[in-house]
Amino acid sequence: MQAAYAPFISVAESIRFEITPQSLLPGVPVAVKDNICTKGMRTTAGSKILENYVPPFDATVVEKAKKEGAGIVGKTAMDEFGFGTFSTNCAFGVPKNPLDPERSCGGSSGGSAGAVAAFKLPIVSIAESTGGSITCPAAFTGTVGITPTYGLVSRWGLVDYANSLDKIGTIGKSVYDAALLLSVIAGYDEKDATSLRTQNTDYTAFAKPDGKKLRVGLPKEYFSSAVDSGIVKEVEMLADRLNSLGFELEQVSLPSTELAIPTYYIISMSEASTNLAKFSGLRYGLQLEFDEKQNIEEYFTKVRTEGFGEEAKRRIILGTFTRMAGYKDRYYLKALKIRKRIINEFKQAFAKVDVLLAPAMPILPPKFSEIEKLEPAQVYMMDILTVAPNMAGMPTVALPIGRINGLPVSVQVIADHLQEGKAIQMASIIEGLNGR
């Protein structure tokens, strides 16, 4: 599988399972996105600048999975530090879509989704999303991805992209698989100040294709002309079917959706540019020959020039600009305000409906040859359906509902903060309709 689709950056040489009769994941292979620390196992975040980083500790999610009897089989390919939509910005090879190797797995958790899709085994993945990096690859590979509420899952051990947005989540072959892994990794952790004090929850209890009829909202901005019409049609057909089964449907509006992309990129790049500062070659980053004639700034510059990929450099420069004294009010601080507005709009919608149903991605999985032709701004537009729920920190389940020309079409089910149960329940109902 690795030879054909390259979902992994590193694979485990051997695994020791710690299994008890109570284990929730006895002997289950788990693939982990390579920006999540694994003790004694290289963690690169897809970047050359971290090619030799071997963390001396496990991320909390890794520790929890191992404690339930799982084994970490490998570290999955990703866009460098999560900067991308197609996993093409990876310093260690680009993962290929198991449904069509000429196409992308999506990103940035491309390898995590690719590994789940590639193996005919009960494998699950720990992935991570900042602005859509779980929903996108799940949609492109026809797998199920859960992006939890911001703070539900501890970020201890996650190599940061944008800390106020980063969420560790799961990808599986079914809603049940993804929900089971979420049940294991969720929960309060004192090592992450932003983690929420929640009760342990068994999310598989919601993964049943029945239960009470939820009120479903259709956000009209998510059905715009920017979305592939074939995808829109599939999602509308699904909505009709739900309606005929007695689900209450309501059109809702999230008017600030069009502001979500610039807002997201300003906040995420501002934070990212500070997170990446530590990779300067002194403690972290490449160790290059130090020329006596250089001063320390010149050395840092050389390390960063050689170590970072093009997209990382672009985000460092833009993110530094948006937080500089003369521009901070216009960009960084304004973006924080709009983010609050976006959260409020979601809250208003969830006062009327239980979940929102929308297309997951605006396009079908593209070919690498098509991706090459895209400008950075066109790539950023691929996030149009995912950045708003991600910025609002709302839990989202992405799952396939059908195929067009053999390529998967997926929806996302979005719920209010900490209402993972509702999103999982709705996703299970939809999964059941497709006769899985």
Partner: protein, 471 residues
């Protein structure tokens, strides 16, 4: 015409917590480099800060002591700059909402208050060890992360200081106030570090970085003022720059020129939350504020019935000394004697040995025993004054010290013989004394005491001298 001098200070004070600001490493100086560290304070990718709430309490206490307005809701920011002492290349500090703003500090000698602009919490960077010279001349530097992540408050004054002496007084007063309320231990190595901003009226601002020691603050500023005045006299423009103070040469030298104010690109620290100082936290700090120097002086006077000048000296020696006094007062009843000895010989011996009382090996118990030996007449006051030197220097048991002293010196000596010898050696004084000169008697008593190494009883010597000279 004299140029007006404008001085403002940024005083970094290490907080007296058990652990560092964002991890569980100990908050103390450890000699072996890079042994008091963990992945968090070394900024390993994947780590996150965990806030030490005790540091917030102490910072709030400092802000209250300086009469600041308290920001009851506050957050942290990232200050980004690339420097080898910062493992993350950003420092977690407070920018938009510091814990305290708009405070004041009373300077007694200057006879006026200066304004405090802000008090904020931040993490200490690592320590750079310059090898083969100082920061300006070293051939290379090593990084010791033991200090990385230690909790600091930075106290920023308004540019209200007019002389180097005032600047020194401001730093000393801050150390005194914050020491007494338990915010910091001013006696600890580099617990207080000062950046001084100085300009002549109408001139550019120069920052002198990282000065330790009250006297050095004054010396650095004196040199810098002289340098700037000289440049001005020669019509050379003073550059806006950062300078380093050389503690040995007592001079400043340029580190870097600043073309404009540095832009640190502050953002909110996204790994931490917005925190709140509750009214209950503020009321829980009230007892500590009772330890402010002015209040503690009054308490010492009324509780122990000691004169104000003694109380003042005891408090101005700092918290450790005042605590030592009070702990001794708990077990030694003659408080006036205690106060007198404390501000006199005890202090003299500590200063001679250049140690803080907390570094001396004496305890309130041994000190009380020492004083009670004098009070009971077991040893003379004069012998006491001799013994206290070794007592403070070594912390040895005072009773054993006295015994050894007597054995070595006087027990076997016949006081009559000593008096005979003294009379023979000082015929002029004897003559004067016979004529009724009391000073001559004092002189002779002193000479006899000297010969007995202060072990003999002066009263007994006087009686014997009287009897002998009257013959």
């Amino acid at each position: 015409m004299e140029d007006e001098v404008i001085i403002g200070l940024e005083v970094h004070v290490r907080l007296l917590t058990k652990t560092k600001l964002f991890c569980s490493c100990e908050n103390r100086e450890v000699e072996e480099p890079n042994t008091n560290v963990c992945p968090i304070c070394m900024g390993f990718p994947g780590t996150k800060p965990m806030l030490n709430e005790k540091a917030i309490e102490l910072a709030a206490l400092a802000a209250l002591a300086l009469n600041c307005k308290i920001n009851k809701t506050f957050s942290f920011s990232r200050k980004v700059y690339f420097y080898p002492d910062l493992p993350k290349n950003f420092q977690i500090t407070q920018y938009d909402a510091p814990i305290g703003i708009e405070g004041e500090l009373m300077l007694l000698k200057a006879g006026r208050k200066i304004r405090i602009r802000r008090v904020h919490v931040e993490e200490d960077p690592a320590r750079l060890v310059h090898v083969g010279g100082d920061i300006t001349s070293a051939s290379y530097a090593l990084v010791d992360y033991n200090r990385s992540g230690m909790p600091l408050i930075e106290i920023v004054t308004e540019p209200d200081l007019k002389t180097p002496a005032e600047a020194r007084e401001a730093v000393a007063t801050l150390a005194l106030v914050l020491g007494h309320i338990g915010v910091c231990d001013p006696s600890a190595e580099s617990a207080i570090r000062v950046d001084a901003n100085i300009s002549l009226a109408g001139g550019k601002r120069v920052e002198i970085k990282n000065i330790t020691g009250f006297a050095n603050v004054e010396k650095a500023l004196l040199f810098e003022i002289a340098r700037q005045k000289q440049l001005r006299a020669m019509h050379i423009e003073i550059e806006q720059e950062t300078r380093h103070f050389d503690e040995i040469k007592k001079t400043t030298s340029s580190l870097r020129t600043k073309e404009s104010e540095e832009d640190y690109g502050y953002i909110f620290e996204p790994d931490l939350l917005t925190y709140h100082i509750t009214d209950s936290m503020i009321s829980s700090l009230a007892p500590a504020l009772e330890e402010l120097p002015s209040k503690r002086i009054s308490r010492l006077i009324s509780k122990y019935q000691i004169p104000e000048n003694y109380a003042r000296i005891i408090i101005y020696e700092g918290k450790n000394f005042a605590d030592f006094f009070e702990h001794t007062a708990d077990i030694f009843e003659d408080r006036i004697m205690l106060a007198k000895w404390s501000v006199g010989d005890l202090l003299k011996c500590l200063n001679y040995n250049r140690i803080d009382v907390s570094q001396a090996k004496i305890t309130p118990q041994s000190y009380a025993e020492f004083l009670s030996m004098i009070k009971s007449g077991e040893i003379t006051e004069r012998l006491g004054k001799e013994l206290i030197k070794e007592f403070v220097a070594t912390g040895a048991d005072p009773r054993r010290l006295a015994e050894r002293y007597k054995n070595e010196n006087f027990e076997n000596l016949d006081l009559t013989q000593v008096i005979e010898a003294t009379i023979k050696e000082n015929p002029k004084a004897v003559e004067d004394y016979r004529k009724g000169n009391q000073k001559a008697l004092q002189f002779l008593i002193g000479k006899v005491l000297e010969k007995t190494n202060n072990t003999a009883d002066p009263k007994k010597i006087r009686d014997m001298l009287n009897a002998r000279v009257a013959q």
